[in-house]
């Protein structure tokens, strides 16, 4: 029963794995080049979903300043506290409990090194349930990113403001935005190649392409496995 709950709680990974396997299967099993590209896209999309899901925190909002957030920032504008201290760590701890899988309190290392504290004690749960623990870690980083972008004073304000609002971790989203752009570029190049292949060979079926190449090179089809009819029969 626990095992079942363990498995169902991590439904995002099941989606990821299913999509990934589907994509890979399509790439390998389909002979049509367009279908291969579709499979490749499904495969890549599964990774996007994986990344996005690890950055999601239950109840967390998009990492954009909300009006209250801005107000809090204005109110503390002149305050030049050195670095986020207990508040920020506390915020991390609060949000840890609300994270996707719950679990041990383990504030992100970024936050810790930033605050100049010793490394946090690693919860025992880290080893028993690594995925859950890792998601907790992800609960912490959002404000650290801003910390580095801004001066120390702004960081302290943000830490206070962030204590009131729960943000999802934007970093995986940013990473995957990059990967999506790369994916689009790959798809465009792949489709362009398919267009050229269609013009050069008159077909986009892989076995027909192989047969055409064999005929061009040897004058005949050396292995019958290249022929579609044979494949269908097998």
């Amino acid at each position: 029963m626990d095992l079942l709950a363990f498995a169902i709680e991590r439904y995002n990974y099941w989606i990821f794995i299913t999509l990934m396997m589907m994509g890979l299967f399509i790439v390998i099993a389909r002979g049509n080049l367009i279908k291969k590209m579709i499979g490749l896209n499904v495969f890549q999309t599964s990774v996007f979903i994986y990344y996005i899901s690890i950055g999601k925190i239950a109840g967390g909002t998009a990492p954009i300043y909300l009006p209250e957030d801005l107000k809090a920032r204005m109110a503390h504008g002149g305050d030049h506290a050195p670095l986020p201290g207990k508040d920020a760590i506390g915020a991390g701890a609060i949000r840890v409990d609300e994270s996707l899988h719950g679990g041990a309190g383990f504030a992100g290392n970024d936050l810790q090194s930033l605050a100049g504290k010793a490394a946090p004690p690693e919860g025992a749960a880290l080893h028993s349930a690594p995925e859950g623990a890792a998601n907790d870690i992800l609960a912490a980083p959002p404000l650290t990113i801003e910390d580095h972008a801004g001066a120390a004073g702004a960081a302290a304000d943000l830490a206070k403001a962030a204590a009131e609002i729960v943000y999802s971790n934007p970093l995986p989203h940013v990473l995957i935005l990059t990967a999506i752009v790369v994916g689009i570029a790959t798809t465009a190049v792949g489709l362009a190649l398919i267009v050229r292949i269609r013009e050069a060979y008159g077909t986009i079926e892989e076995d027909e392409l192989e047969a055409a190449d064999d005929i061009a090179e040897f004058g005949y089809v050396p292995s019958k496995r290249g022929l579609p009819e044979q494949r269908a029969g097998a």
Binding site: M20, L24, V27, L33, K36, L40, F43, Q44, V47, Y50, Y51, I54, G108, N109, D110, S113, L114, L126, H127, P130, E131, A134, N135, I137, L138, A140, P141, T144, I145, H148, A149, P172, L175, T178, A179, V182, A185, T186, V189, G190, L193, I194, R196, I197, A200, Y201, L209, D213, A216
Partner: protein, 500 residues
């Protein structure tokens, strides 16, 4: 001046990156297409000069850390250069600096004139991508740069379609395999990020210490498979022979000498800098999985190479075997083995570059890429033939050449780590390379030239000079090992030291 020196680590990236779109706008048809070629050559020389300066600075003053956007790591992106990167960086930019001037004659014969500016822009971007992979200290940055170089490489390979339409299918297969490899790599990174919350390689190492759990293991496995695909590690090499054989000859020169080497470098980097030695599974993966595959690759690929008729494809299969040597060296798990791998990585780049250059020169003058084209070549194109023979001797591992140095390093690493079997296998597979190289050399020197020999002249100077420089490097580093072996040993020591 100090400001300039402080910016040195990004110069090999940012200068070609800005130059690439400018190259696109240069006129392709004026002055017989010389303008984009000269511009790209100049840029690659600047990148090489910067890389050499980095290597010098790292060798004398220790690792460089450059903070992108003034954000301190581990949150900011860091360019971290130690000896291992600097060595590969110098190899990649050095080969590029020779391949660009070399490419002019060959590429003009093989692609349409109006594509020349685009070609050089893409080649510069491919170079930026490879340099970026090597230079960066941020794990996700590696993926971005891998894809930058791969995407331009797909297009470069497909440019061979004017001569042979199979370049298109080769490029498409390369695209599918390469994308799967890169995506596996991203999955691995995601798992490591999830386990640690950081993407900086040095910080990953700190965070991963003592966390030998299945998630990290899975992450490492994904990274290993992904980069193994890019490195054409046996049995994931099937995209490579076709891609190299059908790509324009000049593209094959650059790719064969650099791209798979960079992927091997990434494997080394992740194994030692990120995962480190306290993970038993990394050692076990190399001992029980990579080493047998490397040995199989060494033999299988060499045997297949013997039966190839297309010279470029034969050289590509030979590369698969040579990648096997590098991985075998890493799998010893000793400092010596790692140093031998790094030396071989560097040396193999030089010799494969020279061999592919000779093949490109023959394709340019004789118009044939099959072994038949080499018939009687010693009399028709003596300089090219000499270059090919020296590079072939180097590949086989004759004393006085770099091939001997790296084989010697590998052998001594094998015996010192108590793997005598590996030593014998290395020698045995070297004998196979004698067969496939000897076959071509025999055709060149002993076989009579076909009747049409009168029409064939020696390759133009723009090809001969870069080829001669590479061949000279083959001999120079074979006699004077200070630069390569000493640096590689120091690099291996620091990598291993960091791993502990």
């Amino acid at each position: 001046m100090t400001q300039f020196l402080a910016q040195l680590p990004v110069l090999p990236i940012i200068i070609p990156l800005i130059a690439a779109p400018l190259t696109m706008l240069l006129p392709a048809r004026a002055l017989k297409g010389r303008i984009p070629c000269l511009f790209a050559t100049l840029v690659s020389w600047i990148a090489f000069a910067a890389s050499a300066a980095i290597l010098h600075s790292v060798a004398t003053a220790g690792p460089i850390s450059y903070h992108m956007g003034d954000f301190a790591p581990p949150i900011g992106i860091e360019y971290r250069i130690d000896l291992a990167n600097a060595l590969v960086l110098t190899l990649v930019s050095g080969v590029a600096a020779l391949a660009f001037p070399f490419s002019y004659a060959s590429i003009r014969a093989e692609i349409d004139d109006h594509q020349l500016s685009m070609f050089y822009a893409m080649a510069l971007i491919a170079m930026v991508g490879l340099l970026g992979v090597v230079i960066t200290g941020d794990a996700f940055n590696v993926f971005v740069f891998v894809e930058i170089s791969s995407l331009s490489t797909y297009a470069l390979v497909a440019l061979g379609a004017r001569r042979d339409r199979r370049a298109l299918t080769a490029s498409f297969n390369y695209l599918v395999m390469g994308t799967i490899g890169a995506t596996f790599f991203v999955i691995g990174l995601g798992l490591l990020y999830q386990a640690t919350g950081t993407l900086n390689m040095a910080d990953l190492k700190i965070q991963l210490a003592g966390r030998d759990n299945p998630m990290v293991e899975a992450g490492f496995a994904f990274i290993l498979v992904g980069m193994g695909l890019k490195a054409a590690m046996f049995p994931m090499h099937l995209w490579m022979p076709n891609a190299y054989a059908h790509a324009p000859s000049a593209v094959a020169v650059f790719l064969a000498a650099t791209s798979t080497k960079v992927a091997v470098y990434v494997i080394i980097r992740f194994t030692y800098t990120v995962i480190g030695a306290d993970f038993d599974f990394a050692g076990a993966a190399f001992e029980y999985l990579i080493a047998p595959l490397a040995v199989m690759g060494m033999f299988f690929a060499s045997i297949v190479a013997i039966f190839q008729d297309n010279l470029k494809r034969m050289l590509a299969y030979s590369s698969v075997g040579q990648i096997g040597y590098m991985l075998l060296g890493i799998s010893f798990g000793t400092e010596q083995g790692l140093a031998a791998s790094l030396v071989h990585l560097f040396n193999h780049g030089l010799m494969k570059g020279a061999l592919f250059m000779a093949a490109a020169a023959v394709a340019f003058r004789v118009g044939s890429e099959t072994c038949d084209g080499f018939r009687g070549l010693a009399r028709r194109m003596p300089w090219t033939a000499a270059a090919f023979i020296i590079a072939a001797l180097s590949l086989v591992g004759v004393p006085g050449t770099i091939g001997f140095i790296s084989k010697w390093q590998l052998l001594s690493a094998a015996f010192d780590s108590g793997r005598a079997w590996a030593g014998f296998l290395i020698v045995a597979s070297s004998l196979l390379s004698v067969i496939y190289m000897g076959r071509v050399v025999e055709l060149m020197t002993l076989a009579p030239a076909p009747d049409a020999s009168a029409a064939v002249r020696e390759a133009p100077l723009s090809m001969l000079v870069p080829m001669a420089i590479l061949v000279a490097a083959n001999i120079y580093f074979g006699l004077s090992t200070e630069l390569t072996v000493d640096l590689a040993e120091r690099a291996a020591t620091s990598l291993m030291g960091a791993a502990r």
